[in-house]
Amino acid sequence: MKYIDHHAHMVSRTTDDYQQMSLTGCVAVTEPAFWAGWDRSRAEGFEDYFRQLTDFEPRRAAQFHIQHYTWMAMNPKEADDRVLSREVLKRIPNFLDKPTVLGIGEIGLNRVTRNEVETYTEQVELALAHKQMILIHTPHLEDKLKGTRISIEVLRSFPTLEPGRVLVDHAEEHTLEMILDQGYWAGLTLYPQTKVSAQRAADIVERFGPERICIAGACDWGPSDPIAVPRFIMEMRRRRHPEELIHRLVYENPVQFLGQSARFKIGRQLEASLAQ
């Protein structure tokens, strides 16, 4: 089954992983800017990272017939450093015109500090000023509930923000309703320990339905699985859910959300644009 992984940190993965993803039906990934697992010392380091995301990585993915899109941001793990964040934010607009950039992300909170909230708020402003879609990271484990609540509170303070152009990622059972109730898209990320398993993701779909829900693997430099989405597909089939429902979750829903950017082209749309 064809699928789109809307959240994959491919800079941390090997070309073998691209191959596995391609062999299991992946046709497109979107890669939010994130933490490298260690703190960078200066803004220039981010600039090189953004070049990697917008230039090198799409070419690497294309070798395996996977379309690669990306999101620009100061990530939540380094966002507490206000001086560095301001410097990085100054550089982000230089990348927003690149052909594979879909918006601002992943922005959000980590330990939910005042500094993180300020950096996050500034990035929502940046997205609005440049008419960008937004992809939001919500914190892990015990911080998720509080972080999601405050992230949504900040979004609601911007009356011109269209909720349908925002995806709040890493949702779990206790945060999903507050995300969907406000009209945002929700992402379920399949992670071995700190997020949801394929089984729990299938349970969530059974409880809440498929409306405005996307599924991703969020593979990165830590313990994670580049073919987590096909494992979710297997779990849904194990429960005998119809193929149409599975296809909607792993392909149609991401196309609907991501397709709000004119840059996101998939399937026939891509063929048509290449023929011009």
Binding site: K77, R111, E142, K144, I150, E173, Q199, G209
Partner: protein, 101 residues
Amino acid sequence: MSAASPLSPKELVDEYFIENRTKILEIAAFLDRLDRADVSYASRDFRMKAFNEALAALRLKGNRLDSIQMLLSDPTTTPLEALDRKSALGAFDRWQEESRS
């Protein structure tokens, strides 16, 4: 679109019993291992206090998972004044909050 599980109760047990049997044995083994190291330790570590409350919540009917998610979550609504550490620990130290108030 309705998305209820198409499996019958018996089919759910047939399909999922063995893997969940494994998980419950892993939890029992972890608790025994901890007891062998120090039988009183679990009562002093906030993560294990929360873990034991979560085990008790398994006996509830219905929303076990939602109850456990809330037991493990930080219920406060005010941002931290300063960054204390980079990563979450898996449970909120409610007992420290209670002793402060």
